[in-house]
Symmetry: C2
Subunit: 339 residues, 2 copies
């Protein structure tokens, strides 16, 4: 039976319609595992020995005695060579014509090279290594938010070519913009709306519901939970949230990052193994840089597999047709053992 | 110089950043023209002679003496065999838990088979044939909007596999939903906002600006205009609008459809020829079924080529990075002669 479900924050509807999965060309699981691992590719800009091929690093975790921009690192963050934003000019919005509002794209675009290994997927790194990546995210948040013109810092990862990854070497990306993106504005608006009418954080309430219901939980530990959202837009969409209320990712302490890394590593591993390394995007949603902590917004991570193509319906309406039942997806991912 | 531009209706920002087009893997023009045309494929569900392979037609333009669901047609509309919505049950929203709002996905999903020709792209059909397609869109709007539970009718077309077309035979799709999609709500909200503060339709004002500026116009005739929107989300994004104010597509008369077909055929032809049949989605944005005509909303068509992949940044923020300047795109499409 096709079902409509509404996201309580964005108020967006998804159509859960498994009938469409029966179309002859549908195949949820794609075989994208590329075979043998390649530790080092001398032609790769992100591999060790090619540090000169990227702009100078802005952050690195490296051996104590190693010098910047030379081999001997575990993780590097460098400015994107083909940046869509830069700090060359001020952000001054020209509002002379309300139909042609424009401004200089002031900001930062950075690449986080997750490890020196040329092909090893983040899902196959140790939880400790995942913690390093999460730590580096926090570092860049804190650093870039010092710059007064920056209003939002977006951290995301594209896994696989079909999800927009243009280079094989595993990496995340960081983009700092002088405006707050519309998806964040909408989420904060929806969350504030719920808070105004109930006095509670909508995300905290969702977590309570999920912990009681349990059918959509994928994994959890004391302070973090991974689950399939009720109105999932795509098969195997997964959200990870702190169980405690917190509006800003960058407020995580080291112990919390360690706990988060366990859940995040498990989530990535289950997706990687259970769906045979599908293309996906993940991103962190957190408060804008100049917002103080508040009672209604709750940072979280969203992972959206790209097993189907968002086409004219999705693009035109903003609604999604999801060909899998979220409870079934959670059940399947829960069953994948993490090694 | 990277530039931010804001859509005056949705208030969404695009980053216009040509720097990214210099990435080694970027290539705006893809070669997807499949070579020889195939007029008829006996294995295709949508080809003549296989009418029994689809559910019975709900509309057809056919020879006077030909019978329904048999050969002898120019255009057919049939229910989608793998429908995400149906009329089996009533749409009753269960709101017991505000975090789990759900309802039966009541509605219609239909396929419009644009011609009996197995591969001929809509861009290569005559303007008269394009007018038949536009006429059929109107017919389905009028027909489906009779059903009281239907709140919105979405008409769209996916061109090419990368844009989500799962069958080769050229077709459009019609989906009638019991809820108004979020993109329509947002546009109507933005347009009403502008109307409240100026007393004018924002789309009418955009058309005035474009006609004065001329740098983003692709083609026009007396009553219709095709142009690259100022805050284009993707290279070669194109909007088509009536120059006269009208909030509902279905109010077009036959003469207006004839005029629209000239502009729409030209637009499709320029995109097809100039970009070598790129993957794209197009869709019609019009008023919800139960809205009367109004002074602030203005129906239009949006065509969004898929020459780049929307990845973690776009999905996470809702903002788009566009690697081409809208004025350059319009200039290029303007230069393509329509044969």
């Amino acid at each position: 039976m096709p079902e409509l479900r509404r996201d309580p924050i964005t108020k967006n509807w998804s159509i859960i319609a498994t009938e469409r999965a029966k179309r002859p060309e549908s195949s949820l699981v794609k075989h994208l595992i590329s075979g043998d691992e390649i530790k080092h590719d001398p032609a790769c800009f992100f591999c060790e020995g090619n540090e000169h091929a990227t702009p100078p690093e802005v952050l690195a975790y490296r051996d104590e005695n190693a010098s910047p921009d030379l081999p001997g690192w575990n993780l590097r963050v460098v400015p994107n060579k083909f940046a869509a934003l830069n700090f060359d000019e001020d952000f001054l919005v020209n509002q002379d014509n309300p139909l042609k509002i424009t401004g200089y794209a002031r900001g930062a675009a950075e690449v986080l090279i997750e490890s020196p290994h040329h092909t090893r997927n983040l899902a196959l790194q140790s939880a400790d290594h995942v913690a390093c990546v999460l730590m580096a995210y926090r570092n860049r948040y804190l650093n870039l938010s010092q710059e007064r013109s920056i209003k939002y810092i977006s951290i995301f990862r594209n896994n696989g070519q079909q999800a927009g990854a243009s280079l094989v070497h595993p990496h995340s990306q960081i983009m700092a913009t002088p405006v707050v993106p519309i998806n964040i504005t909408n989420e904060m608006y929806g969350a504030n709306d719920y808070y105004e009418s109930t006095g509670r954080c909508v995300y905290c309430d969702i977590i309570k519901t999920e912990l009681k219901d349990r059918s959509r939980i994928i994994c959890e530990n004391e302070n973090f939970i991974a689950f399939a959202p009720y109105a999932s837009r795509t098969p195997f969409e997964t959200w990870v949230m702190p169980k405690f209320h917190s509006s800003r990712y960058q407020d995580l302490n080291d112990f919390q990052i360690h706990e988060l890394s366990e859940i995040w590593k498990s989530t990535l591993y289950k997706i990687y193994t259970g769906l045979e390394n599908p293309p996906y995007n993940y991103f962190i949603h957190t408060s804008p840089t100049q917002k103080n902590v508040n009672k209604y917004y709750h940072w979280h991570m969203e992972l959206v597999p790209k097993l189907t193509i968002a086409a004219g319906f999705e693009l035109g309406t903003g609604m999604y047709i999801n060909i899998a039942i979220p409870e079934d997806c959670a059940d399947y991912l829960r069953s994948i053992e993490v090694k």
